[in-house]
Every structure is written in C-alpha cells, then in structure tokens.
C-alpha cells in the first residue's frame, strides 16, 4: 500500500536483509519495476533518537566509514618497517597517490600543509562511495546531499580564507575586473569569473558527487531488484519472466562500472579541492 516499497527484513537466510524490493511491482504487465517514489530509496526510518538528533542508517554508516578510514590508516601505517607488509604497501600506495598525484602535482611544494585534509577527504569519500557496492550495505552515503554539501562547504571555506589572506581584497577585485583581459570583454569575463568562483564552485563540487552516486544507486537498485523479481515470478508468468536474466546481467555489468565511478568521483572531488586551493594560493596566474 502507498509507498510500494518495504524493507525486507529477516527473510530466511537474510541475504536480502538490507536490499529494498519493489513489493507491488506488477510483473505481468510492467517490463521494468519503477519505484513509486524515488525518495524511499534514500530516506531511512529513524532508528533511535538522541535529544533532537534523529539517528538513521545513513548516519550510522557515516560513522562506520570514518572508523574504517581510521582503522585502515592506523593498521596500515602503524609499524614503519624496512620491508612493509602487503597491507602496509597498499595503504602507503593510497597515501603516496594523494601526496604525489594530487598534492605535489597540483599545489606544489606547499602541499604538505594541506595533505592531511586531502588524504582524509579522499579516503573518506572512497570508503563512502564504495559502500554503494559493498554487500549488505549497498548504500552510498554520499548520495545524501548533506555529506557532499558539507565537504564542499569546508573546501569553499578553506580556499576563500586562503584567497583573502594571501591576496587581501585583491582576490575579489581582480576576479571581478581581470587586468589581463582586453577592456571590451573585461566586464563579461569578470562577471563569469565572479559567478563561477564564488557561487558555482561549491555548488558543482557537491552536486557532481551527489548526482553520480544517486544515479548509480538508482540504476543498481532498479536493475538488480527487477531481475530478482522477474526471475522469482517465472512460475507465475511463464517465459516472459526470462527478461529478468537480462536485467540482472545488465545490473552486474553496472555493478562493475560503479566501482570505477566510485573511485573516480572520490579522486575528482579531491583533485578539484586541490585545484581550488592552488588557484587561491597562486592567484596571479
């Protein structure tokens, strides 16, 4: 009734414990099971309340992601050995990638100051995005706007403070009135730059991650659950249910693609943070 979705809990074996299933899908007539209300896929009921603070599954997953990141870095880098363990090499690879590939290449020698922020952001987003394809979790925490929006606001705050403290008020004036541009076009370029730097940067940074994760989660949920439902309905509707195998196969393909998207989006978010910080430090060019 109503929503068309329910949390399938505690079914024998509980394989589908956290997967949401379109319960009222009319498999005899519909080729794909569309959700009645998309929000149901992203909004979870309150589990418990602390004061006015309602804790949902998303927040528990967020804290879990932070614990995973801390554990990963702590156990990976605990012992500094001449020949590190395999796990240690993997963690050092991540740290080295952020330090060299993102920090040093983009910001330059000054990047060590911002490395803790970049590394924390990259690992947290990586774990949060990969929750999308982790069995039994199956929910990317970054598909709730609060998390990308908060991270993007922190980045905005950092590069604004840096821009104004390094360049004083010139940061605003030179953005709105760029001296290197011919006078005829200067007002137009200045206007575009002003809107782009001060308004669009934080917006697009957050929305890019959010949109990618929402799209991936929707697609995976629709394809995989449609596949399961159609195959399960074969005894009722006969050979028509075989379309479920196709949906499930497509879902598995998307599953692989989402690994790439999750890693790439974490990388792009961190890279753009570094680029914005660099553009505030070296404002002249």
């Amino acid at each position: 009734m109503g929503s068309g979705f329910y949390f399938e809990r505690q079914r024998k074996g509980a394989q589908l414990a956290t997967m949401i299933v379109a319960s009222e899908c009319d498999v005899a007539n519909e080729v794909i099971c569309a959700p009645a209300d998309v929000n149901e896929l992203f909004e979870f009921p309150t589990i418990f309340t602390i004061g006015n603070f309602e804790v949902t599954r998303t927040e528990i997953l967020m804290i879990f992601a932070a614990i995973v990141v801390l554990a990963l870095l702590y156990f990976g880098l605990r012992q500094q050995r001449l020949v590190p363990s395999k796990f240690g090499v993997a963690v050092e690879g991540i740290v080295g990638f952020v330090r060299d590939g993102i920090g040093r290449d983009v910001i330059g020698p000054e990047s060590t100051k911002y490395l803790p922020y970049l590394l924390a952001m990259f690992t947290f987003l990586l774990v949060g995005n990969l929750f999308e394809i982790t069995p039994l979790i199956n929910f990317p925490i970054t598909s709730r706007m609060a998390i990308p929006a908060f991270l993007s606001l922190v980045t905005y705050w950092i590069f604004m403070i840096l821009g104004f403290s390094r360049n004083h008020f010139r940061y605003l004036i030179d953005t709105a009135w760029p001296k290197t541009v011919p006078i005829g076009l200067r007002w137009l370029v200045g206007l575009i730059e002003l809107v782009s730097v001060f308004l669009l940067r934080p917006l697009t940074l957050a929305v890019r991650l959010f949109a990618n994760m929402v799209a991936g989660h929707l697609m995976l949920t629709l394809l995989l659950t449609s596949g399961v439902i159609f195959v399960a309905a074969i005894p009722d509707i006969g050979a028509k249910g075989a379309v479920g195998f196709f949906w499930f196969g497509l879902g598995l393909f998307m599953f692989l693609l989402e690994v790439l998207v999750a890693v790439l989006q974490a990388y792009i978010f961190t890279l753009l943070t570094a680029i914005y910080i660099e553009s505030s430090i070296h404002f002249e060019h």
């Binding site: 590939g101 290449d105 782009s196 917006l203 697009t204 929305v207 890019r208 949109a211 890279l271 680029i275």
Partner: protein, 77 residues
C-alpha cells in the same frame, strides 16, 4: 479540452534536463579528446595535462549539473 500543465511538470523538467545535457556532453567530449591528443604528443606532460583536463571538464560539466539541480527544483515545485 483545457490542458493541465501541472500534470506534466515533471516530464517537462526531465526534457529540459535532457536538452541541457547536450551541450556539456559535446563539450566534455572535445576536452577529453584534445587532452588525449596532447598526451599522445607529449607523454612527459601527462600529469599537467590530466590536471588541466579535469579542470576543463569540471567547468564544462557545471552546466549539466546546474541543469540537474534545476530539474529537481522544477519537478518539485
């Protein structure tokens, strides 16, 4: 027959987003294609080119992302 515009607001927003995604799609293709050409010509500049490519993609993609936000605003309102 009086047309009911309210009933198709969501569909209109969807069409608007689809139209808005055309330009950034072409733009990102041009940026990435030229970045690949540049990397093939000068493989030693790969790091710089990749950074610039992502910056270019980020600026181009902004239009599609604004369309995405407006889709939500338009279909909700």
């Amino acid at each position: 027959m009086e047309g009911n515009i309210e009933a198709i607001t969501g569909a209109l927003a969807l069409i608007g987003y689809g139209l808005g995604a055309i330009g950034p799609g072409i733009g990102i293709g041009i940026v990435a294609g030229n970045a690949i050409t540049a990397m093939a010509r000068q493989p030693e500049m790969q790091g710089t080119i990749r950074t610039t490519m992502f910056l270019g993609i980020a600026l181009t993609e902004a239009l599609a992302l604004i369309g995405f936000v407006l889709f939500f605003i338009a279909s909700a309102g």
